[in-house]
């Protein structure tokens, strides 16, 4: 069973690494969105420090959502997805493999670039660590929940816009606690631990349920 998982994972990563621009586009989208906000709202230090956590998280939400369209689309177009459905292996596991690959290619770069964008918003050292940890826990949840939406909107016209309509409301809890953890870390006495417990709980819950829902959605879309 794990072999299937690794097989899908390594295949997706190999394919993506041969077309590196896709990975970089998501990353630069994230950086550009984050960089635009100070131009729009003004570049006062205190203001930026307050807005920073929320802006970075909303940008991460949008970036991971834009990348979602590609999660199943290429495989759907060339028929690989139908072959995957026919393999007789548990589909949820295959979906999980694809989602993990997707996160390694689009979510992980956001986590790693976070210190750089945090500098643009004058966040403190602790806040940077908290942001990286929160993003590391939160972005996989975004990929997992998003996979359901990507599977439901497979091959539809205007799928990308529709996907955002379906998925963004479901991202709210991750946004609230992810950005909340970073904001709270600026206050000395406050405790960020509950935020991480909740984010971890979301990760566990969505890792368990989202692949099943996404697999069911793929069956509906491809029948």
């Amino acid at each position: 069973m794990l072999k299937v998982f690794y097989c899908v994972l390594s295949r997706d990563i190999t394919l993506a690494l041969r077309r590196r621009t896709d990975v970089l586009t998501t990353l630069f989208f994230f950086i550009i969105v984050v960089s635009l906000f100070p131009l729009g709202v003004g570049s006062e230090r205190e203001q930026l420090r307050m807005l920073g956590p929320g802006v970075v998280w909303v940008a991460a939400l949008l970036a991971s959502m834009l990348a979602l369209e590609r999660l199943f689309a290429a495989d759907y177009d060339d028929g690989t997805l139908e072959q995957l459905l026919l393999t007789g292996q548990p589909l949820a596991l295959l979906v999980l493999g694809k989602v993990v690959a997707h996160w390694l290619l689009t979510g992980l770069p956001l986590v790693l670039i976070a210190p750089l964008v945090a500098m643009q918003y004058h966040l403190s050292g602790t806040a940077v660590w908290v942001m990286m940890a929160a993003l590391a826990l939160g972005t996989p949840v975004l990929s997992l929940i998003g996979a359901i939406g990507a599977a439901l909107t497979l091959g539809l016209r205007g799928g990308g816009i529709l996907l955002s309509l379906l998925i963004l409301p479901l991202y709210v809890p991750v946004l609230v606690y992810g950005a909340g953890a970073v904001s709270v870390s600026a206050i000395e006495i406050a405790d960020t631990q509950p935020y991480f417990y909740l984010l971890s709980a979301f990760l566990m819950g969505s890792a368990l349920l989202a692949p099943l829902a996404a697999a069911a959605a793929l069956r509906i879309s491809l029948e």
Partner: protein
């Protein structure tokens, strides 16, 4: 005696019943809404509260609260019919879910709108990021997502099933979303918890409010059945019985 639970699961069997029920529900809805509004607007106290009383404008709760209750209840109905449709593979359940969605969205919008009108005199602003407002707004987005997904897919069977799955995923996420909005800071959840207890509402206000709720409920039945009948006719238009129905109704 064995009961055939699926007797009315056939669109052909349910179509005439829905038609016969619509006038009843419409009539009951009209009567209850008129009674509830008259009672609420003219027979209750002029103001609410003690030191900082809410004046006449509080009366919008007779529309606002029932609409908000209906919006939440109808999402449960929507997800329920979606689940039944996915489990039993009954066409009518999906049609029912599809017919419920617009009514639910309308009540959600009505609750937001009346809430904004009430917020202006009492809070001094049309919109505030109060947990209940935000939750209701997200519920509205969930309804819109369901309707958008359903109308984006041309194949009826896929549209029904995909939207049904979305409704169920939404239902699973609703408690988490509401929790995160109600308690953005987990360090202080206990103190921030909001409670709405119907038992704390004075009877003279609660009864007209419940009357309105039942009225809106009847309205929902009537509106959903009317929408359901057109959905049935559109989808079953290849069948002979639909042609008979249309021939009957055009000659009559």
């Amino acid at each position: 005696m064995t009961i055939n639970w699926f007797k009315f699961a056939s669109p052909a069997a349910f179509y005439p019943i829905a038609g016969r029920l619509i006038p009843w529900f419409s009539g009951i809805a009209l009567a209850l809404v008129l009674v509830g509004l008259f009672w609420g607007f003219f027979l209750t106290a002029d103001q609410l509260g003690g030191s900082n009383p809410q004046k006449e404008y509080y009366r919008i709760i007779y529309v606002h609260v029932p609409a908000a209750w209906m919006s939440m209840w109808l999402y449960l109905v929507l997800a329920g019919w979606s689940a039944i449709g996915l489990v039993f593979n009954t066409r009518l359940s999906f049609m029912m879910a599809k017919a419920v969605a617009p009514t639910g969205a309308i009540f959600t919008f009505l609750a937001l709108w009346t809430g904004a009108l009430w917020g202006r005199p009492s809070w001094g602003t049309y919109w505030d990021w109060d947990p209940r407002l935000t939750s209701e707004l997200l519920l509205f987005f969930l309804y819109i997502g369901y309707i958008a997904l359903h109308s984006a897919i041309d194949d009826t069977r896929r549209a029904d099933r995909a939207a049904a799955l979305l409704a169920i995923v939404g239902l699973v996420m609703v408690p988490v979303i509401f929790l995160s909005i109600n308690c953005p800071d987990p360090n202080q959840c206990a103190s921030l918890h909001q409670r709405s207890d119907p038992g704390s509402i004075h009877l003279s206000i609660l009864i007209p409010m419940l009357t309105m709720t039942l009225g809106l409920w009847s309205y929902s039945f009537a509106a959903v059945f009317a929408r359901l009948r057109t959905i049935i006719l559109t989808r079953e238009s290849d069948n002979a019985w639909v042609r008979d129905v249309i021939a009957q109704e055009t000659t009559a």
